[in-house]
Symmetry: C2
Subunit: 319 residues, 2 copies
């Protein structure tokens, strides 16, 4: 099968590529990004089945040329300026690199081959300001986006639905919750904490962990379960529909830290770092994964503890 992945240099894309090759020995993957990906974790045979194309998704002519030559059956749209913080600093760039690039992609798909199935990856940030009785969040919950990034993601999803219904394009959307796993940069909370714990374990840092607000509750899911959900949605999702991709379980950051310290077999002091506390943040974000389970049979398989252990091991090897 022919796949095309946007944002192919990113953390999720790496795991997605591995999973595609594990499950489809005939896979040919076109990888789009402006950044140079590091695929050193892939074996030689896999490299032969990958074509890298530097494509600016803001350029329709680039995009049309790329689609014409790649002729994919599936597109997994991972490209995104996905930082909420960046979107506050650069709202225009954030908007263009979320909403506009996706609209360009849809218009190009419509022109080149309307039968291509597109997976539009969105974010739990779309729910925005929520009240406790909305937890766990179902896809029918209202969206009250609270950052420029979240507004851009809502527009992306709504445009996907409009193109699916109005132009009969084949588009499945997700709202993906916090994911984590090996190779994730330390800018993300669990990876940053796992890195600190690994540093301490190696004796390179005093036994003090700097963290933001450790009372907030999030729905963390292993990236390797996430990419399985994406491939199942490509096979079994309904066009024009949106699916939460989440574990369904809420954990405080404090609990995550406890688990990490148990894995590493160390104890540390936890010190609040104001620079890691967001000005506005939801105390609780937990999703309901009943819809994707009912439609595709998907459920997360990797336990939180073993996923976190893998992330810790990654940092132990890496540092």
């Amino acid at each position: 099968m022919r796949y095309l992945i946007t944002g192919a240099a990113g953390f999720v894309a790496g795991h997605l590529i591995e999973h595609i090759f594990r499950t489809d020995s005939e896979a040919a993957i076109t990888c789009l990004d402006l950044a140079e990906p590091d695929y050193s974790f892939l074996d030689g045979k896999m490299h032969d089945s990958i074509s890298l194309i530097k494509t600016d998704l803001l350029s329709m002519s680039d995009l049309l040329k790329t689609l014409e030559s790649a002729r994919p059956r599936f597109i997994i749209h991972l490209a995104s300026f996905s930082s909420v913080a960046y979107s506050w600093q650069h709202p225009i760039e954030s908007f263009m690199n979320n909403s506009n690039i996706f609209l360009n992609l849809l218009d190009a798909v419509k022109a080149v081959d309307p039968c291509i199935r597109v997976l539009s990856v969105g974010s739990s940030e779309q729910y925005g300001i929520i009240t406790p009785e909305m937890i766990p969040l179902r896809e029918t919950a209202p969206q009250n986006p609270a950052s420029p990034y979240a507004v851009a993601r809502v527009a992306q999803e709504q445009m996907g639905a409009v193109f699916a219904h109005g132009f009969k394009l084949d588009i499945v959307s997700t709202r993906s919750f916090n994911h984590f796993g090996p190779r994730q940069t330390e800018r993300f909370v669990l990876s940053g904490l796992a890195r600190q714990v690994a540093q301490i374990k190696k004796g390179r840092q005093e036994p003090v962990i700097r963290a933001g607000d450790i009372r907030i509750i999030r729905d963390f899911i292993d990236v390797r379960d996430v990419v399985k959900a994406y491939l199942l949605l490509l096979r079994k999702g309904t066009s024009g529909e949106v699916y939460n991709v989440c574990s369904g379980t809420g954990r405080t950051i404090a609990e995550c830290l406890d688990t990490l310290m148990r894995i590493a077999d160390i104890r540390c002091e936890i010190r609040k770092s104001d620079s890691l506390v967001r000005p506005v943040d939801n105390p609780v974000i937990v999703g309901d994964n009943g819809k994707i389970h009912a439609w595709t049979g998907w459920l997360p398989k990797i336990s939180f503890e073993s996923g976190l252990a893998d992330l810790f091991e990654y940092w132990m090897r890496r540092l």
Copy 2:
């Protein structure tokens, strides 16, 4: 007071300018548009208080320069590619000339003078797919945009709310329902029908009116009431909030046609024209104007019949 109006060559802008001059003898108005406006209906003194600036709202440098020189207290953002049909044909252009231009405007306001109060004009199209029990539509109703245009308008409003809350900009939003009045182009339903009735009255057309689906129910409001609402919202609206601008009364197109024929004192046959029927359309769109009334005291003053008579008289003079 210093005002800046985007989309200043449009139908609503003309009525807004007249109303501003009627109520504020000190008004100075900067009019932004790429098209050349026809202000022949304004008197000479008014012309002296207007500056016209051709500004491309997609160009940040243009926008910054214009704001720096105009230094308005109020911005009324009327600029929009407001055709639903166009948005299906040219979704990218429609999106950019609704969502992106507004985001550019906000970012420019933030840079030049965050105290400028901005009125963001939106559309009842944002409600999209609705169910009968949601009528009359309140601002709390969910938004299910059903066209590329509607998606772009939702993004505009949500970005306004995010900038109001996150950057403390001063932004009031509307969802404006179908408006009509003198000088409206015949592409809009009531103006098109009034023009046909005037043609028939003048004996230039056989007594047959071509119309789309005359059973659909809409909430029509006179543009002169609309612009009063806009100025009241600038004075009394709450930043970050959205207000329906509507009559609160639903009328079938058939009723509107009856009223028009009574005004013109003619009877005609009504013939369905498939080219005027939209592929997907809501049978009923009626808004609730309780919120704007409670906040600003605004209520529509011009009766439907007398507004329609003015529109008919306009076409009688014009043809």
